[in-house]
């Protein structure tokens, strides 16, 4: 039986930038054992020598001629912004005072 503690879930939530409530952390950790057991079935198969598939198509680089095409106007690009200033996105402080 796999398991993930409340603290493990809290760490993952931090990495994923989701500030979870205590109740959410407890609920997720209680569900995770069952889910991990189910997905861990991929380890039951002998996969020696099997290549990994990351994508259903043989991917190639796709390039186009280097020509300027129409794109969003500044007004359109900013139309969904939670906050803006002049023609820029206004965001919370990213670097600390001392940095």
């Amino acid at each position: 039986m796999s398991s993930l503690s409340r603290d493990d879930v809290a760490k993952l939530a931090g990495l994923a930038r989701i500030e979870m409530t205590e109740a959410e952390l407890v609920e997720l950790s209680s569900q995770f054992g069952m889910i991990l057991d189910a997905v861990a079935r991929v380890q039951e198969v002998d996969l020696t020598g099997v290549k990994a598939t990351s994508h259903p198509q043989p991917l190639e680089n796709v390039a186009r001629p280097d020509v300027v095409l129409p794109s969003l106007s500044p007004e359109d690009a900013l139309s969904g912004a939670p906050a803006k200033e002049e023609s820029r996105f206004r965001v919370p402080q990213i670097l600390g005072e001392a940095e």
């Binding site: 993930l4 879930v9 993952l12 939530a13 931090g14 990495l15 994923a16 930038r17 989701i18 500030e19 979870m20 409530t21 959410e24 997720l28 569900q31 995770f32 069952m34 889910i35 189910a38 997905v39 861990a40 079935r41 991929v42 380890q43 039951e44 198969v45 996969l47 099997v50 290549k51 990994a52 598939t53 990351s54 994508h55 259903p56 198509q57 991917l59 796709v62 186009r64 969003l72 359109d76 690009a77 139309s79 969904g80 912004a81 939670p82 906050a83 996105f89 965001v91 919370p92 402080q93 990213i94």
Partner: protein, 498 residues
């Protein structure tokens, strides 16, 4: 008028018997009448739809050669960006967002003169199989309002089943078109990966996502498929080969001499009795039409569900990182002195629902160093084995078949607290997505024990989508003559109209 097929509507429009404005109004009236019960739509764009209808009527009048479904109204899954129209992907994090651009699917629909009436409900970011994970409440199955319509494209499927729209667009990452089509008694197709552009399709799992058509008949679905598909320079994974001749195939509907492979692993134990019975009956029908039925073995399919629930959450944990509260969408906790990271974390907690958080955390775990090889790495290798199983099976058969879903529609709330039980509903549809091939679900009748629709799934190799329509049309015609009337005529009355 609203009970006709899309192809009949298209014909009436081209003969000038009705206008697109009249047809669109009739559907908007139907929506006003029944959508309070069904809740298929998140947003009805009546004004925009009537303007589009007026436009296509004018184009027709000027003598322009139009698509066979020009002027026919359609319901669009809220996962596709439409300029100026609210697009939420069923998530609170995108509440009130109006995209500044059209997805390629929307551009193609507009070019073809198809009238987009509104945006349909879905599981948040297409994560779910019942539409209960929507941030805006569930959609109700027109066959029984106490049950789910399936998901994640449940709103689109319910709209078509309830005659609110003759056509709809959905997206299918693990069965999200085929399973709701099965549960609501309509036709749904997941085209070959790369056949329909993903530009403007809000990403869940990029190597699995694919938009596709819903209709009440195989031919209607083909007509919409042909409009949506085609190469797009804006999607690097878009296939440049010509669109398969799906409409011609839907019109031919001949299975004489066709080899149909029954996948041993996708039937029997775990499948509801009435589902299995309708499936077996459809097989007999196909055999009586001259198809050759063979059994094929796909041993790795047993691990498809496990591989999917590692690959899709892994990709989603990366894709959904874009919802960072900076450039668009929700922002909360932006108080004086709060760091960007704190604002981001508070916003993502407030904006994402339970299932989305569950999958982001699972994906973050599966991709973390120390676990990557054991989980994500192994899942990618299982994916290879599934592709190999299909290759062997398609060497023995032209198309493969199974029931679309193991059960008929279940009650709202029944599985919402048991994620693994919910995930099991995708067992028969997921292998198609992992291999990047195409699949169709069409109605196979009603299960005896509950009187609810059962779906029959047909699968074909990549870019052989026409085979789905060829076999599907043959089965549909034979079942229709057996039943005497389309399956939706057996659904209960909604709003006193049906």
């Amino acid at each position: 008028m609203i009970k006709q097929t899309a192809s009949e509507m298209g014909e009436a429009l081209s003969k000038g018997e009705i206008s697109s404005v009249e047809l669109t109004k009739a559907h908007l009236d139907r929506i006003a009448e029944v959508d309070g019960q069904v809740k298929a739509f998140l947003h009805v764009d009546a004004e925009g739809a009537l303007a589009q209808a007026k436009g296509v009527d004018a184009r027709r009048k000027s003598g322009e050669k139009l698509s066979p479904i020009a002027g026919v109204p359609l319901a669009l899954k809220d996962v596709l960006a439409q300029r100026g129209v609210p697009t939420t992907a069923g998530s609170k994090i995108l509440e009130n967002w109006k995209p500044p651009y059209d997805s390629t699917v929307v551009s193609k629909l507009k070019d073809a003169g198809v009238v987009i009436m509104g945006k349909t409900n879905m599981d948040e970011f297409a994560m779910g199989s019942s539409t209960e994970n929507s941030g805006y409440g569930p959609t109700f199955n027109p066959w029984d309002l106490a049950r789910t319509p399936g998901g994640s494209s449940g709103g689109s499927a319910a709209a078509v089943s309830a005659f609110e729209a003759p056509l709809a667009v959905g997206s299918d990452t693990g069965g999200s078109i085929r399973q709701p089509a099965a549960l609501t008694g309509i036709v749904g197709v997941r085209p070959t990966y790369g056949a329909v552009s993903r530009y403007g399709l809000i990403a869940y799992s990029s190597s699995l996502d694919q938009a596709g058509p819903f209709g009440r008949t195989v031919l209607d679905t083909a007509l919409l498929h042909e409009v949506m598909a085609g190469h797009d320079v804006k999607d690097a994974t878009s296939i440049s080969a010509p669109v398969p001749a799906v409409v011609a195939a839907a019109k031919s509907g001949d299975v004489k001499g066709m080899k149909i492979g029954v996948i041993k692993q996708l039937q029997g134990e775990g499948y509801q009795k009435g589902v299995q019975a309708r499936f077996d009956e459809s097989l007999q029908v196909l055999a009586s039409l001259g198809a050759e039925i063979v059994e094929v073995d796909c041993p790795s399919f047993e691990y498809a569900l496990a591989a999917y629930y590692l690959i899709a959450p892994s990709e989603c944990s990366s894709n959904l990182a874009r919802f960072d509260a900076m450039r668009y969408g929700l922002r909360t906790g932006d108080t004086e002195g709060a760091s960007a990271e704190a604002v981001m974390s508070a916003t993502r907690d407030a904006g994402f629902g339970r299932e989305v958080k569950r999958r982001i955390i699972l994906g973050t775990y599966a991709l973390s160093s120390g676990y990557y090889d054991a989980y994500y790495g192994s899942a990618q290798k299982i994916r290879t084995l599934i592709i190999q199983d299909y290759a062997k099976a398609f060497a023995q058969a032209d198309v493969l078949v199974s029931p679309t879903a193991p059960t008929t529609a279940y009650k709202i709330g029944e599985k919402v607290d048991d994620p693994m039980a919910m995930y099991l509903g995708d067992v028969a549809t997921i292998p198609v997505n992992l291999a990047g091939i195409c699949g169709m679900s069409l109605p196979a009748g009603l299960a005896e024990e509950d009187g609810l629709p059962v779906g029959f799934q047909i699968m074909a190799p990549a870019m052989q989508d026409q085979r789905l329509y060829q076999a599907g049309a043959a089965l549909e015609a034979a079942l229709l003559s057996k039943w005497g009337a389309p399956i939706l005529s057996k659904a209960p009355t909604l709003g006193g109209v049906r």
